[in-house]
């Protein structure tokens, strides 16, 4: 006896409703964030108490700017994947669920672009 509904059988996507793309990208961004997080935490310790000119000079250096851009990209990609799963688990009703997921994905992308713009403005 199959416990799947006829529509689920026709769609053929299983319980996850998609392939492994979501899972894979969550892991890929997690792996990227391991060294980036270490760099970020060490940088924050180093910058504690530093004045404006010092912090600006730090971010303006090519290495800091590039690593910060990578951190922003990996963080916001990882963040929207994680929040999507939480919404899928706790928000019931297709309209509310879809609305929340669209909101989170668009906001994450917009925030990542905003943060990247700020980094580039300091760097150039």
């Amino acid at each position: 006896m199959s416990m799947r509904t006829p529509i689920a059988r026709v769609r053929g996507l299983g319980a996850a409703k998609s392939g492994t793309q979501h899972w894979w990208m969550q892991r890929l961004t997690a792996i990227a964030l391991v060294p980036l997080t270490v760099w970020f935490v060490v940088s924050v310790i180093y910058l504690t108490g530093a004045d404006y000119a010092h912090v600006r000079a730090w971010l303006a250096s090519p290495l800091s700017a590039i690593l910060m851009l990578l951190l922003i990209a990996a963080t916001f990609y990882h963040l929207q994947l994680g929040l999507q799963v939480i919404i899928e688990d706790y928000v019931h009703g297709e309209a509310a669920k879809l609305g929340c997921i669209i909101g989170v994905k668009l906001a994450s992308f917009a925030l990542a672009v905003t943060a990247a713009f700020a980094v580039l403005k300091v760097a150039f």
């Binding site: 509904t5 504690t48 108490g49 404006y52 963040l79 713009f117």
Partner: protein, 132 residues
């Protein structure tokens, strides 16, 4: 659509609380906290790009007692999510899935995140010259 007569697992409250479940839900909670923290990072970067006045305003908020409380929470959340995330990556390659090792790594994640938070804050105060 036929959805009746499907077997259901017992509801969550039925199970006795264990370290492994506590760490699992905490991973999710710290993830949400860090998503809010990412907003703070965007504000901080915008302030840095905006000029000395904007930067002083954001730094002033972060240096207040409430700002420090938030930063302390985010420090622990980040180190917890980081350590437990590495635990997840080991599981993904099939390592440490047995119950005794999953429990041992749970204790390790709690210990590392707490000790790490303390180390980061001591390091920060030392960098700022507050500890001499």
């Amino acid at each position: 659509m036929t959805t009746g007569n499907r077997p259901l697992s017992p509801h969550l409250q039925i199970y006795r609380w264990q370290w492994t479940m506590l760490l699992s839900i905490t991973h999710r909670a710290t993830g949400i906290a860090l998503a809010v923290g990412a907003l703070m990072l965007v504000c901080w970067l915008l302030a840095l790009a905006g000029g000395a006045d904007a930067f002083a305003a954001v730094n002033g908020f972060l240096a207040s007692w409430f700002g420090r409380l938030l930063l302390f929470g985010w420090t622990w959340s980040l180190l917890y999510h980081f350590s437990n995330g590495i635990r997840h990556l080991f599981w993904d390659v099939g390592l440490g899935l047995e119950l005794p090792s999953a429990q041992a790594s749970a204790y390790a994640v709690v210990a590392v995140s707490l000790a790490g938070t303390l180390a980061v804050w001591i390091g920060g105060y030392m960098a700022a010259g507050a500890l001499g």
